[in-house]
Subunit: 228 residues, 2 copies
Amino acid sequence: MPDDIPVYFDTEEGAALFQGSDIKGHFWTLCRYFISEKFLTYCGVASGVTVLNSLGVDAPDEPQIYPYKMFTQDNLFTDEVLHHRRPLDVEKGGNSLEQLASILCCFDVKVEVYFVDSIDEELCRHLLVESLKSPNQRVIVDFNRQTLHQKGNGHFSPLSAYHSGEDRFLLMDVARYKLPPCWVKSAMLYHAMTDVDASSGKSRGFLVVEQQIPEIRDVFESSSSIKR
Amino acid sequence: MPDDIPVYFDTEEGAALFQGSDIKGHFWTLCRYFISEKFLTYCGVASGVTVLNSLGVDAPDEPQIYPYKMFTQDNLFTDEVLHHRRPLDVEKGGNSLEQLASILCCFDVKVEVYFVDSIDEELCRHLLVESLKSPNQRVIVDFNRQTLHQKGNGHFSPLSAYHSGEDRFLLMDVARYKLPPCWVKSAMLYHAMTDVDASSGKSRGFLVVEQQIPEIRDVFESSSSIKR
């Protein structure tokens, strides 16, 4: 397997990489909620929806499947999201890393934004792998497709697994009509994230999205505040 | 693992079953095209869309992702399909096994319909496993959820893998907001397919959908038909 070529998921080599992957805890729920971007510019939206669903975040109502619920690429645009980001804006120009983070922050998650020009390759790998090991975190990468020898430019997709021996990440490409998921060398992915996003003037990078564990209220404190 | 309980995909046991599964060739593309039914009654439509996409069947145009193409739960209803089956009909009452077959037959695939009351458990397992081994076939099962101790009744979903040692099939449940994929014992799946579908009065069963390899025209015959 040459280092400078992604290995596609639906090939014999891809299946062998999955089999040998030692960190794939995120895959099982991401596979369940994996979707296709509905517009060519909706990669951030589709990645966000996949990740929020896979973290079990409480979703807006969805009348067509009532009484069940699920995030979709439509209902993600809640009142709070619409105040700063409209579907039309995303359809026209997609999202920058910070814009996607600002959408996700409207839900019950904590979002960390990493621009890769501020971290080196080794730290980048470390942060991605640690997140992939955490059951209550998910990773969305923002990279330039050209570094991966794919048609296109800036693109978002979630990561779902890592193969330590081969030092490759499994990228769940949300432009599913275009390409299958693929295994990318860590160095190649890092390089693809160093690209500067012309819309923001900043480097690309990744988001770590973490499920918020509801805080345990201090029962004693509140009960002690009752005047006796 | 008790025989009468499905093992869900996103559990440790589920991951171990996937790892040990010896027949999982269909999984890699089904995972790429796996979708959620958009209405509670669209299980057949969602299963059909997933399978047609994973077989690489030529899809109708989809303006939002032009120049790419993909089957969706909307564009599946082409002119030809609409002549005998409308979205409204499916929204109201879902599809029977034959109705789903009649929709899929409008595309470039060959569809075999199997009612399980006409085959025994052993033959059923054999047919399902043989189809799962064939790269140009896909399987959609029509079963009663109650046999699997799940809420609901009749339901369609594609199969994507088989574990010979445990004699379990991997069912890609398209009601993804409700349940993850699950590993079901062959005997339990057979039993769930023997249920009679009240809408058709026939037993449930499964469809084997096969990609049509374009026939090679007999060039010599056609050229020989030119009068000299």
